[in-house]
């Protein structure tokens, strides 16, 4: 795999007065384009068929919630898994290192959809063969689709983020570690106080991009019957025989989601002290 660059923290741009920030939006060609976009939006609203919208709105809300919960849970669990994956690849004993590198290579080298279907159909069929599992308290959960979707998304995020963490652990300047050693810190304390926090700090700027990528991976779970946002819209399309209207709404929702996430993550990034 080509190495991933660890982007150095971006310094927040100095805040401009409102008028200076609005000026680029008010250029004549942009006004014309905004007008055209508005006209297109009006045409879409008035000319196309939207009578289904109120009926399906609650379901779309439920789907949106499923998408967001899947995104948040898989990002958190995946990140927790990525930390050891990255650390072990840099400093672990050889067998563990090979295992972690192999895991990252395999997950990053095969399509997510294939992994999802392997885990859902494969594991699902396997579990069903064991009476012990069928009888256990876990079975009501394992019969549903979302645990498999969550597991696959988590593993995928862990593999991609683990690769980034590998670069981040390897990229912590040696001088900082040597300084910590020179203070007489034991190895574990060096790891806990210097190496680990510095590596996480270095990896943070790429996290926003990875989270957006993960958001874009979530609709795949619709193929294993998890009713996320995409699945609800697919359902609308099948019920109403409309091709474009639900698709346009779906794109609009994803655009808003990506935009909001980007803004929130950038704000969070600005709150992290950059150390410069």
């Amino acid at each position: 795999m080509p190495d991933i660059d660890i982007v150095t923290p971006i310094h927040p741009a100095p805040a401009l007065p409102l008028r200076a920030r609005l000026a680029p939006l008010l250029m004549p060609h942009r006004l014309v384009m905004a007008g055209l976009a508005l006209a297109a939006l009006l045409a879409i609203i008035t000319q196309m068929e939207w009578s289904w919208l109120p009926v399906y709105l609650p379901k779309i809300g439920d789907g949106l919630l499923v998408t967001l919960v899947l995104l948040a849970s898989s990002v958190i669990a995946g990140f927790a898994l990525a930390l050891p994956l990255g650390a072990v690849q840099v400093t672990g004993p050889a067998p563990l290192r090979w295992l972690a590198t192999g895991f990252c290579t395999v997950i990053r080298g095969t399509p997510l959809l294939l992994q999802l279907w392997l885990i859902y159909y494969g594991l699902g069929a396997l579990f069903a063969q064991f009476p012990e599992i069928r009888g256990s308290w876990l079975w009501p959960y394992l019969r549903q689709a979302w645990p498999y979707g969550f597991l696959t998304l988590t593993l995928s995020f862990a593999a991609y983020q683990g690769e980034i963490m590998r670069g981040a652990f390897a990229g912590v300047p040696r001088g900082e570690l040597e300084a910590a050693r020179a203070f007489g810190m034991p190895r574990l304390m060096v790891f806990r106080r210097v190496w680990f926090p510095r590596a996480v700090h270095r990896a943070l700027p790429t996290l926003a991009g990875e989270i957006i990528l993960q958001l874009k991976a979530t609709p795949l779970v619709a193929t294993i019957t998890v009713t996320d946002l995409y699945a609800v819209i697919t359902r609308v399309r099948q019920d109403t025989y409309l091709t474009y209207e639900p698709l346009l709404l779906l794109i609009a929702i994803y655009l808003c989601l990506s935009g909001t996430l980007t803004i929130v993550l950038r704000w969070l990034e600005g709150r992290v002290p950059s150390g410069h």
Partner: protein
């Protein structure tokens, strides 16, 4: 409890599914390669528009890349597929011909290429900006036409900067072909699912397909490394 895995199911001839799997794999490679090439063309156009285009062109390119990067590939593919086939059919109707079925390969290549183009635009834009402006100005000062400057100076000089990003994009292209299975293209992932469902040997077939994808990734990785070394001849080692 668990039966021994029957590897004869992977035989190349019927009743084995090996032949079907390999055919699906070839289809995937074709789709990825075609989409990747189309993506390069779109990316070059997009990057040129972003860097040298007028204000309107620049904004249009900006909206295109924003859309591609913010919306899931699966949704984009659905949209491009329906819009593309619809537009073509209307075009054919306008010329008084009957609606035709676009063959799957070109539709799939178009869909993947449009998605790849958005990312390639960004890769090329960054790479072109990494070329020292003096080199381009020198070419202009020699009286070369803009197109010749692009062909003789800008493109060769930016290649080493673009290659790492483009290598990543090739990996994404090979994996994005799997998404076409959701729209119903019979490429490797869909064929695998059909084989697995018919024989109920899920692990066998999904692992076999995984190995094929992995082999493609690892082999192309070797090739791309070699290409990158070649393109970086004479440049200082990467930091």
């Amino acid at each position: 409890m668990i039966d021994a895995i029957d590897f004869s199911l992977l035989a190349l001839t019927s009743p084995g599914w090996g032949g079907a799997l390999l055919a699906g794999f070839l289809r995937s490679v074709e789709l990825a390669a075609g989409g990747y090439l189309l993506g390069i063309v779109i990316g070059l156009i997009g990057a040129t528009a972003k860097l040298y285009g007028g204000r309107v062109l620049r904004d249009i390119a900006e909206i295109y890349t924003l859309l591609i990067r913010a919306v899931p590939e699966l949704v984009l593919m659905l949209l491009f597929y329906y819009v593309g086939t619809d537009l073509l059919n209307q075009l054919m109707a306008a010329f008084g011909r009957e609606g035709i079925d676009i063959d799957g390969l070109s539709a799939g290549i178009l869909v993947i290429g449009l998605v790849q183009g958005g990312y390639a635009t960004e890769v090329f834009r960054g790479a072109i900006r990494a070329v020292p402006p003096g080199q381009i100005e020198a070419a202009q000062a020699l009286g070369m036409s803009p197109f010749r400057v692009l062909r003789r100076v800008t493109l060769p000089a930016m290649a080493p900067h673009a290659l790492p990003g483009m290598a990543n994009l090739w990996m994404i292209a090979t994996k994005d072909t799997a998404l076409l299975a959701v729209i119903g293209f019979s490429e490797l992932t869909l064929v695998t699912k059909q084989a697995a469902a018919a024989t109920r040997e899920y692990f066998l077939f999904f692992f076999a397909a995984g190995l094929l994808y992995l082999a493609l990734t690892l082999i192309s990785n070797l090739g791309l490394r070699w290409l990158e070394r070649r393109a970086r001849r004479g440049l200082p080692a990467a930091a």
